[in-house]
């Protein structure tokens, strides 16, 4: 409000519950309100499949637990009055078992100066604390990667809890939290850090409690009324206001970039979907040329593509590609999960050491594809497509059964790819260990 006059022409809300509070407090604003959902929550869910990649990028080793310390700004925040909780967390936790990351509100960084914050926390950073700079999405990656959090009344705490991460409150400024808000409920639901007991013990209890806990779980339903749709709904609102037709391309949440430092040149954890054209030649059909094109930029079927299949990576955020992919590149070795989720997928390739891969077929057969030598383009993706092309020939009876030594051309001179049928693959449980993973979005 400005002098009793409503400023925004449209007020974007993330949950219907907010409209009810608006109705109570400022009814004249209700007609201008639009519930679109929460784009950040959507992005966290789109990032969930890449939990392992974020953990690796943050330097979390196998068997280690990652604890996210979140602080909003102000004297009553987690960092308000000093980093006692941060120091304690590091002091009480064996370095080989725990890793800590502090996500600190930009207003703390800019209110005191980045140098000052780093200087204050330097003893903790020396002890292993990760302190990503503000104005990056590192905190979102950290929420995806975390095993537990210690937080306060800031939004990050709410996002972490809503994402399913178990946690504790080290501070909570009840006075600054709106009555009836999700944050107020979270404050009532989460346990406070006790000064008299081991923090490790309290974190372990929080992790255990998660399964039976309903308090923090109920908050998850209050963060967004339209899971997955916030950007699309926001875009509709903008284009309506602009008087323009919306672009034909759908808009959807994309996974958070990998935190800087240990990421490849392109920050996205998911590779672009590829339209892969293959050409099998040679007297015995053992020469395979693989040409891969960005699927999203194809306009109809151009003459550059003759015999193509679509390859997508597990976690592909664009449902259009995920739904029609012939080949999925899995992130972990549970192909059944992808076969179950995507009925159109014929092949799941699981990367192996040395840029090779295991190629799983829907009927249960498994082939291993091993490169004879390294080449910059000879990776699991090209291997999977070469095997796919070879198997397509096999299906029509033109190729020999269980093994082949393929000569694959892609980015350069041919590299030999040895394909072997693997015997006696045990059938994995359809609901594998991933089923209960925190933050994995249920099928929409």
């Amino acid at each position: 409000m400005h002098d009793g006059e409503l400023i925004p022409s449209a007020i974007v809300l993330s949950h219907e519950e907010q409209r009810e509070r608006l109705r109570d407090g400022c009814p004249e604003a209700v007609p201008f309100s639009h519930v679109v959902g929460d784009p950040c929550m959507d992005q966290l869910h789109a990032s969930a499949p890449f939990r392992d990649a974020y953990r690796e990028a943050l330097g979390v080793r196998a068997g280690q637990r990652l604890v996210l310390l979140t602080s909003t700004w102000g004297g009553r925040s987690l960092l308000g009055g000093g980093p006692a909780v941060v120091r304690r967390a590091l002091a009480e936790s064996p370095r080989e078992e725990y890793r800590f990351i502090a996500a600190v509100h930009p207003n703390v960084w800019y209110g005191h100066g980045g140098w000052q914050l780093r200087s204050w926390l330097e003893p903790c950073v020396r002890a292993g604390l990760l302190l990503p700079p503000p104005a990056t999405d590192a905190w979102k990656a950290a929420i995806c990667a975390a095993d537990a959090f210690v937080g306060d009344h800031g939004s990050l705490t709410l996002y972490a809890a809503a994402f399913g991460v178990p946690g504790l409150l080290a501070a909570f400024d009840t006075r600054s939290v709106a009555a009836g808000s999700p944050m107020e409920r979270l404050g009532a639901a989460l346990p406070r850090v006790s000064a008299s007991r081991s923090l490790r013990e309290q974190l372990a209890e929080a992790v255990e409690r998660r399964t039976g806990d309903t308090g923090a779980g109920a908050v998850a339903g209050l963060v967004t009324s339209y899971p997955g749709e916030a950007l699309a709904r926001f875009r509709r609102l903008c284009y309506t206001t602009l008087g323009l037709s919306e672009p034909e391309e759908p808009v959807f949440p994309r996974p958070v970039e990998l935190p800087a430092g240990r990421r490849p040149a392109h920050g996205s954890p998911v590779g672009e979907p590829l339209l892969v054209d293959t050409e099998v030649s040679g007297a015995d059909g053992s020469r395979v040329t693989v040409r891969r094109y960005p699927a999203a930029l194809q306009n109809g079927s151009g003459s550059h593509v003759r015999d193509a299949h679509l390859v997508a990576e597990e976690g592909e955020p664009d449902a259009r590609w995920a739904g029609v992919a012939d080949v999925f590149l899995a992130r972990r070795g549970v192909p059944e999960r992808l076969f179950a989720r995507y009925p159109g997928c014929a092949v799941v390739a699981v990367p192996l050491a040395g840029e090779s891969c295991a190629v799983h077929l829907r009927d249960g057969r498994v082939f291993t594809a091993t490169w004879a030598r390294a080449s910059w383009w000879a990776g699991p993706g090209v291997a999977a497509s070469a095997v796919y092309a070879w198997l397509s020939r096999e299906r029509t009876g033109e190729s020999r059964g269980g093994a082949a030594d393929l000569l694959v051309d892609s980015g350069g001179a041919g590299v030999s790819l040895l394909v072997m049928r693997r015997a006696g693959e045990p059938a994995a449980d359809l609901l594998g260990p991933d089923a209960a993973e925190p933050g994995v979005v249920p099928e929409r």
């Binding site: 950040c40 207003n107 939004s155 809503a162 600054s176 994309r254």
Partner: protein, 141 residues
């Protein structure tokens, strides 16, 4: 382009431009926190050459540090607030309620920059004209 509209790329004569957008959007930055959410939202316009986005800063947040670096690093087409007030846009998007938003002549879409609306009132000085204790109006903050 509708000739009745001000040139979307006002300030630069048309002959110097490469693209002729049909609409202009103003992204309103308050501080770095709200700016990160603003950019998340503006991904809604990716790939659309009909829309040119400019950025400005309300100069109203006590946490103005880092804004210049934020804009420079991301190469945001930035214009000063006074110029934003004087120029016409088709839409402004603001992820904070602070500053003189009412002086913009275009429609303003206001969005939260955190997880919805959870604060009783903004404790950030200069973040608006709300009265302390006006908890009922928190949703506009």
């Amino acid at each position: 382009m509708n000739p009745r509209r001000p040139s979307p790329t006002a300030g630069l004569p048309a002959q110097w431009l490469t693209v002729s957008p049909e609409r202009t959007v103003l992204g309103v930055i308050h501080n770095v926190t709200s700016a990160t959410r603003l950019l998340d939202l503006l991904s809604a316009f990716e790939g659309d050459l009909r829309v040119q986005t400019y950025f400005t800063c309300t100069d109203s947040s006590p946490f103005s540090g880092g804004i210049a670096e934020f804009c420079a690093e991301r190469e945001l087409p930035f214009i000063p607030w006074a110029e934003a007030e004087a120029r016409s846009f088709d839409l402004a998007i603001s992820t904070s309620r602070g500053g003189d938003l009412h002086k913009l002549s275009c429609p303003v879409i206001g969005s939260p920059h955190g997880a919805g609306y959870n604060k009783r009132l903004s404790r950030e000085p200069g973040a608006g004209s709300r009265e302390p204790g006006a908890g009922s109006r928190e949703l506009l903050g």
